[in-house]
């Protein structure tokens, strides 16, 4: 019994490695996409704003699993793990963009006007005045989105990335304990996501305290 679980954990650890590649890279890429698209969405540049809306709407309406399968089987000529990273980044990038756009909108008008009045360009206004303030308010929702991203990594098993869930399904052939194996996988995700959730709650409190001061 104990030996079985040691085998399971030993076996699953290989899947962890794949996740350690996918999760941080997707987080960073989706943040980059999110900042660019979010700022563009806020600026409301004529034609571009429709493209941004289109992108965000599609990503909000499409199941990540369908997107993964579509991109993967379309012969994208990249490995499953690269496909997974790209799709997860593009998908969550749209949500991050919405979070950032909302964050910018929440900045008091006076800040924008102040920056404009001293003759800052749009870019430097964003970089030096607006964005530093945005970070503070969006961190809780950003962390929330990352929790969803981490949970979505289970979907990449469907395109053959050898991650945790896939290893779990493989080891079922040897150690036939479906309940135990899936519970171990669930515990792993729980630990990561729960810590992040706590972190976001903590940051939320800190930020509230700061803004009141």
């Amino acid at each position: 019994m104990v030996a079985d679980y040691l085998t399971i954990i030993n076996f699953l650890s290989a899947g962890l490695l794949a996740l350690l590649k996918v999760i941080p890279i997707s987080m960073v890429l989706s943040l980059i996409i999110g900042i660019i698209v979010g700022v563009l969405g806020y600026l409301q540049i004529p034609i571009l704003k429709y493209i941004v809306t289109l992108y965000v709407t599609i990503m909000r309406g499409l199941p990540p699993l369908t997107l993964l399968l579509l991109v993967f089987f379309s012969g994208s000529f990249v490995s499953p793990i690269v496909t997974a990273i790209i799709v997860l980044s593009i998908y969550h990038g749209a949500y991050v963009a919405e979070i950032i756009r909302a964050g910018i909108m929440a900045i008091p008008k006076g800040q924008h006007e102040g920056a404009d009045s001293i003759g800052l360009s749009v870019l430097s206004k964003m970089v030096h005045v607006i964005m530093p303030q945005v970070w503070l308010s969006i961190i809780p929702s950003l962390v929330g989105q990352y929790v969803i991203l981490i949970k979505d990594t289970t979907l990449i098993s469907a395109i053959g990335v050898m991650e945790l869930l896939n290893y779990a399904r493989q080891i079922m052939q040897v150690v036939y304990r479906p309940v135990g194996v899936y519970v171990v996988v669930a515990i792993f995700f729980f630990i990561i996501c729960y810590c992040l959730e706590r972190l976001s709650k903590y940051l939320e409190r800190r930020i509230k305290a700061k803004t009141i001061l």
């Binding site: 085998t7 599609i58 993967f72 098993s157 053959g160 990335v161 399904r169 052939q173």
Partner: protein, 283 residues
């Protein structure tokens, strides 16, 4: 502009992009493939250059390819043959595991040089890749629950019967053809299919005999085979059309190892019974 109009515009734009990408991409793909034949390097040359033969396999298929739970090593008949082939070429072997649905794309997209997994030769697949001489032939059957009343293949072709098989495998299509009246479902792995059969979510599980035997061992005394095979399955390695040199070498290896008796040794080791040449696998 109201939200509704925006939404409508979005749908319209999406459909347009889909249609346009459809038109442009399909033409570029056609021209792309002809270019690819002229420009790409035979995998054989790159194998010698890098000193590494990269193969793809699915792990959940004992005794052909599976991860040894004790040692963590990937082993099996297909893996050992691949290792022998790599040794013959004088290069290292790198085995990359994929889930079944990712296996064929991994070869076609150039991530690996060769597939060394339980790949069934089919006419349709032969249009996608070069098959090497088969490394084993097994029969495919339908597995049913004991006492379910399903005893012949004819019993399966019934609207009340739910068939299951592995997602992305050949039996999904074959099952649909052989039993057009039955309902066809799929599950991700062999173990999942065994659960489906045991939990009465499916009435018959279609797969090759070895997979089915391993399902039977998971649920002792619950299942039985319908003895009449639904198909004969010859499993073979495969390479891409851009690599005829590699295909040629692999074919030669397969033939020579069968002649030298090395193949019979490995076969006995993994399959547990002596190798007898069949019309499918050859002498």
């Amino acid at each position: 502009m109201s939200k509704k109009t925006v939404a409508l515009l979005c749908v319209l734009a999406l459909m347009l992009t889909v249609v346009f990408t459809g038109c442009t991409k399909s033409t570029s793909a056609e021209s792309g493939s002809t270019v690819a034949v002229e420009e790409t390097v035979d995998a054989m040359d790159s194998i010698f250059e890098s000193g590494k033969l990269v193969v793809a396999t699915e792990l959940g298929t004992p005794p052909f390819a599976f991860k040894n739970a004790q040692t963590g090593e990937i082993e099996g008949l297909a893996i050992e043959l691949a290792q022998m082939f790599a040794d013959d070429l004088g290069v290292e072997l790198e085995v990359r595991p994929f889930e079944w649905s990712g296996i064929i794309p991994s070869l076609l997209t150039g991530q690996v040089d060769m597939l060394t997994t339980c790949l069934t030769r089919t006419t349709a697949r032969a249009g996608k890749m070069i098959f090497i001489e088969p490394f084993v032939a097994v029969s495919a059957h339908a597995l049913v629950r004991k006492g379910s009343g399903l005893t012949t293949l004819a019993d399966l072709n019934n609207p009340d019967v739910v068939l299951t098989t592995t997602t992305g495998g050949i039996y999904e299509e074959l099952g649909g053809k052989l039993f057009p009246d039955a309902q066809m479902k799929t599950n991700g792995t062999n173990a999942d299919n065994a659960v489906a059969l045991s939990a009465k979510r499916a009435d018959a599980y279609l797969n090759d005999r070895l997979q089915l035997e391993s399902s039977m061992s998971m649920y002792a005394d619950q299942f039985e085979l319908i003895t009449e095979p639904i198909a004969w399955d010859s499993l073979a390695f495969a390479t891409r059309f851009d690599s005829p040199k590699l295909a040629n070498a692999a074919n030669m290896f397969m033939r020579l190892s069968k002649m030298s008796g090395k193949y019979a040794e490995v076969f006995q080791k993994w399959m547990g019974y002596a190798y007898e040449p069949t019309f499918e696998v050859g002498s």
